[in-house]
Subunit: 227 residues, 2 copies
Amino acid sequence: MVLLRRGIATMASLKKASKVVCIGRNYADHIAELNSARPKQPFFFLKPPSSILLPGDGPVIQPKGVNLHYEVELALVIGKQIKNLDESDEKTAFDSVESYALSIDMTARNVQNEAKKKGLPWDISKGFDTFLPLSRIIEKSAIPDPHNIELYLTVNNEVHQNDSTELMLFRIPRILGDISKVMTLEAGDIVLTGTPKGVGPVVPGDVMRAGIKVGGKELEEARIEVA
Amino acid sequence: MVLLRRGIATMASLKKASKVVCIGRNYADHIAELNSARPKQPFFFLKPPSSILLPGDGPVIQPKGVNLHYEVELALVIGKQIKNLDESDEKTAFDSVESYALSIDMTARNVQNEAKKKGLPWDISKGFDTFLPLSRIIEKSAIPDPHNIELYLTVNNEVHQNDSTELMLFRIPRILGDISKVMTLEAGDIVLTGTPKGVGPVVPGDVMRAGIKVGGKELEEARIEVA
Ligand SMILES: [Mg+2]
Ligand SMILES: [Mg+2]
Ligand SMILES: [Mg+2]
């Protein structure tokens, strides 16, 4: 799979992911704010590629009766197949990451809470069309250490999320190890690495802006602005 | 998207599905056997395309510590995009189905039960590699009425599942309507329509055979035989 840099072909290739895998509860303060239990190992779920919203694709659509929450997350774009990866093999883990993107894991929180209570799947609450805004592709060289960048998200210019990825409970080699022992990751697949604290609701008309800072400097290509 | 009939290209195209959507609890007797609640509306979850096992691909792999269950299901192969379908528009619903396949929704039952108890996602329990054996493509004309065929599954030549699709609680137009109001279905996507009663465990060495009878006659292309 060839990902052209920053061109229209790159963005289109993101929508052709064979799957999007998302880690839940990977930042301690976010676990506390949702009164969730701290996982002993990473757990994960899928979002359908049909939920991807690329820059310029328009707004996030709020489904009727849905309490819509944002979760800003660092996304990994996989560059080669990963199967049964040993988490101690950090070199293979990082070599398998082709590039990054910023993402917002939009969540129908009331639907998810209902599913949790009833022991039902999360997929509907996570999978509506437009529920996965992505930034442009971020070249790997722009993020020398993915565990040492700042993610932020504002709603109507008010900062709601702003934390370092050094707060991840499970780091990228562990995440890729655990996922790839269950499901083979293919080139082009997208992995969301979890959200820091500060998640909350948005309503139509709100403007979300999200981005990444590396060493305090904003990454232009990581910017998301979505209504 | 062009699906070549019965050729190698057809089978390969199944693995390129952008998603696999599965209906849960769509047969009353299966709901009873798992002591589950009867849903007021169809609910659904995703299996990753990486879990697809095509004829000749080898055995289903039982992950360590997993109680592996089979669920035989009629699968729909989508032929054109479906978005916000009104379930009363049966013509569009059936026109959107390009062909069929038989499928076995392999499930790590102990992992799923644990997830249900903790309110966690089902995706791991449903998503291991090899957890979605498929038959060859079944041409649409071979199944004049998808709500009036027999699905069966045997383990070591003993019949465990054998019921008519007329027992579906939610029929195909309703299923496609409900899914497509959440996530757009794309050409090539696969939809599993739920399993009748009789699910149970298999262990390595067991041989599963599954098939479809139309008017009492076996469909050759629907046969699955997998260890
Ligand atoms: Mg694809
Ligand atoms: Mg998330
Ligand atoms: Mg099933």
